[in-house]
């Protein structure tokens, strides 16, 4: 009996059976090696560092740990959709700062990570760490990831050029003073109409520098309760200040960008200062070996005398997924990676990144002079600043808020180019209010968060 549907469908049926059998075979054969813990992370340098220490953990507990390096963007979106749909996820992950908001969008019970708040308190870990770091990994008072770092922000500068120009960095204690000196320094050396030396590198579209400055001033996009604060008076003033420094006649800033263009700018002395969180010191060292011994770091100038002299930029955290079958083991693993003192010393020496664990800061590695940075004991400076790092509260709308404040800034910049100072402050205030209201509307719509708020009253 001929196949009634025809030759082509018959062929397709054959292919279907064949491929189906192959797939079934493939699924059975590739039965996963049984790992006790599957660990997904995105930072290549972390991957290298951990690879050396994991065998020790494996030996101590008689388990096997598998590390997977995955692209950051993919990790976040896949985790998100997998959590919501109940699909398989790794046991433990290192996640990027800002992403916690997404995972905590709905009711707390839906967050795919294990609530670590109690554990951190009971084992005394919370007091050992810089408190402000927990803000990045919390939602509604519950902590879902262990902080990896502090990332205090300093100003890095060309010590040799600065000394040549007779600038006393000790005196640059406030931004006003900084700007005053900056105006003197920023000039057109070879009279070709274009300035050849700027005081500081600031990105022309605001971006992370704006965020960082707002945090330093105690502003920020959101406050502790998740309320939008991007249109506060502090924000208005900072935006206006920023526009003045990056545009127009009194500008002291040049936008040098990243990587190679920043390196070139610093080599040429095009900019003297730039924002440098701890991780950037290492990357700069690697990118620009030619400036060894000529660079130095200093705390940020404060906004008012005696004010906070640092901010924060970036961060990584360690989270345990609720799907993990061995959560106690995962917790031990977290502590092993983040709290072993001897390791922390080594890590700082290798990456210049200081851990949030305060008692580690006495280790000798933190007190070693760093030849690249003019023999400064950057560990000491960073740990002093670390205590002051401001909290940075995240919500599910952090990404949206960042986009919107960028939009407000660009509009304000265009306004300034057209109208100068005339009405600038009012314009900025209105723009910020408009964009903040939009974010408020979107955030306020979230029925889960408002329900949670109602319940907590």
């Amino acid at each position: 009996m001929l196949f009634p549907y025809g030759k082509a469908p018959l062929a397709l049926l054959a292919v279907a059976l064949l491929t189906g059998a192959t797939l079934a075979l493939a699924t059975f054969c590739s039965r996963q090696d049984d790992y006790d813990l599957v660990f997904a992370l995105f930072a290549k340098n972390h991957h290298e560092v951990y690879q050396e220490v994991i065998p020790e953990f494996e030996a101590a507990h008689g388990v096997r740990v598998q590390m997977q390096l995955v692209p950051a963007r993919g990790l976040q979106s896949r985790l998100q959709s997998a959590f919501l749909a109940g699909a398989p996820v790794p046991d433990v992950v290192e996640i990027l700062n800002g992403s916690m908001g997404y995972f905590a969008r709905g009711p707390l019970k839906d967050v795919g990570f294990v609530d670590l708040t109690e554990r951190l308190e009971k084992e005394g870990i919370r007091e050992r760490m810089v408190e402000s770091r927990f803000s990045i990994w919390s939602s509604r008072g519950h902590v879902f990831a262990m902080p990896h770092d502090v990332h205090p922000v300093t100003l890095a500068y060309r010590r040799d050029l600065v000394e040549e120009l007779g600038i006393d960095v000790e005196a640059l204690t406030t931004w006003d003073e900084f700007v005053r000196v900056g105006r003197r320094v920023t000039c057109d050396l070879d009279r070709d109409g274009v300035a050849d030396r700027y005081m500081i590198d600031l990105p022309s579209d605001g971006a992370s520098a704006l965020d960082l400055l707002l945090l330093q001033r105690g502003g920020g996009l959101f406050d502790e309760d998740g309320q939008v604060t991007m249109d506060s008076q502090v924000a208005v003033e900072t935006l206006v200040w920023y526009i003045h420094q990056t545009r127009g006649e009194g500008r002291i800033a040049f936008s040098a960008g990243w990587g190679q263009s920043l390196s070139k700018a610093m080599l040429d002395g095009l900019a003297l200062f730039y924002f440098c969180p701890d991780w950037r010191t290492k990357t700069f060292q690697q990118d620009v070996p030619g400036l060894a011994g000529k660079m130095a770091v200093m705390p940020l100038p404060a906004w008012e005398e005696g004010g906070r002299r640092t901010s924060t930029w970036g961060g990584t955290g360690f989270a345990i997924t609720k799907a993990c079958p061995r959560q106690e083991l995962a917790w031990e693993f977290a502590k092993f990676l983040y709290l072993e003192k001897k390791e922390l010393g080594k890590r700082f020496a290798g990456s210049n990144i200081i851990p949030p664990v305060k008692d580690a800061w006495d280790l000798p590695e933190f007190h070693t002079p760093n030849a690249y940075w003019s023999n400064q004991k950057i560990g000491v400076l960073l740990s002093d600043l670390a205590r002051e790092t401001p909290p940075a509260y995240v919500t599910a709308y952090t990404e949206l808020a960042r986009t919107k404040i960028g939009e407000a800034f660009m509009n304000a910049a265009i306004y300034y180019d057209d109208h100068g100072d005339d009405g600038l402050r009012d314009y900025v205030e209105n723009e910020l209010k408009r964009t903040a209201d939009y974010v408020r509307r979107v955030a306020g719509r979230n029925a889960f968060l408002s329900q949670a708020r109602r319940e907590s009253r």
């Binding site: 549907y5 082509a8 469908p9 491929t19 189906g20 599957v38 790794p90």
Partner: protein, 309 residues
């Protein structure tokens, strides 16, 4: 003035020339023009394919240098090679282990062929029921089917997703195969074709003692093979190119299909165009093969259906 302009000018000259040379038979010139336009259109349509073919085999360094291929003098294993394919098949790391590109091709093949065969069976059976049987509710069902075709499928995206979650079919192929198992346009296509089968044949088979299902299998289906072929092609194309379903339902990298994987690759292999273009080339081969096999049935089936519209 460059080569392209020169060619265009030449074409126009030929046209003008043919008008002048055959003043009493203008149809020669117009026929010529007709062909020119058609050839140009065909050229425009084929160019991206040709470009794709070349791009998959060019070395990364010269990919953007030459539009199609480098001049013959520069042909070597440095300029034209299989590096893109090599990288494509090198495998990527996922939290569940390493996955190779073969796996994605296999997944797509399996899903598509299974879906197509499934659709053929269900639609033909349903169409047969509607065409050759009278029963209470037949009109109602057909009206309902017609109405359901008017509803854009997007409205069902969210609730079906929720349903899949509750029955635990997320991240399985069942979620991709079952909800769309009986496409209504297919039912109508088969019904249209089967209605034309003379009832005498059915009666004769019944008298011979054939079961109802036997009539379907032995008498009706062999007679509508052309329509089956056309529908087979349409169904295959739809399933092969399906993106939204796998994108939202499949979470394990190893189970993904080609459209989703390639859309991921344009983010991962950012500037390495060759890699995902090589993948795309492979991804459009199976539909092309099927189409060449079934094009006659396809055109006749489609046009007869379309005219009734």
């Amino acid at each position: 003035m460059n080569t392209l302009h020169a060619c265009l000018l030449a074409l126009i000259c030929v046209f003008a020339g043919s008008l002048l040379m055959f003043p009493r038979r203008p149809q020669i010139a117009w026929t010529y023009l007709r062909y020119v336009v058609l050839v140009l259109a065909a050229g425009v349509v084929l160019t991206p394919f040709a470009w794709l073919l070349c791009a998959a085999f060019k070395d990364r360094d010269i990919l953007m240098e030459y539009v199609f291929l480098p001049p013959v003098s520069r042909w070597s294993s440095e300029t034209l090679n299989l590096n893109s394919f090599r990288q494509l098949f090198a495998g990527e790391k996922t939290p569940q282990g390493t996955v190779y590109f073969w796996r994605y091709i296999l997944n797509s093949l399996f899903l598509t062929t299974t879906a197509t065969v499934l659709h053929i069976v269900t639609c033909s059976l349903t169409g047969y029921a509607l065409a050759k049987y009278s029963f209470r509710g037949r009109r109602a069902i057909m009206l309902f089917m017609l109405g359901s075709m008017m509803i854009p499928s997007m409205i069902l995206l969210a609730p079906v997703y929720q349903l899949m979650y509750h029955v635990g079919w997320i991240d399985t192929y069942l979620a991709l195969l079952i909800p769309g198992a009986v496409p209504v346009f297919g039912v109508f296509l088969f019904r249209q074709a089967i209605v034309n089968v003379p009832n005498d044949l059915l009666e004769a088979a019944r008298i011979d003692g054939c079961s109802e299902f036997g009539i379907y299998w032995n008498v009706v289906m062999p007679l509508v093979r052309p329509m089956t072929g056309a529908f087979c092609l349409v169904s295959f194309l739809g399933a092969w190119n399906s993106f939204l379903g796998p994108q939202i339902y499949i979470h394990t990298q190893a189970k993904l299909t080609l459209p989703v994987v390639l859309s991921q690759y344009i983010g991962i292999y950012n500037q390495q165009y060759g890699v995902f273009l090589a993948g795309t080339l492979l991804a459009i081969l199976p539909p092309a093969i099927i189409f060449f096999g079934l094009q006659r049935e396809f055109v006749s089936g489609l046009t007869s259906g379309a005219v009734k519209g």
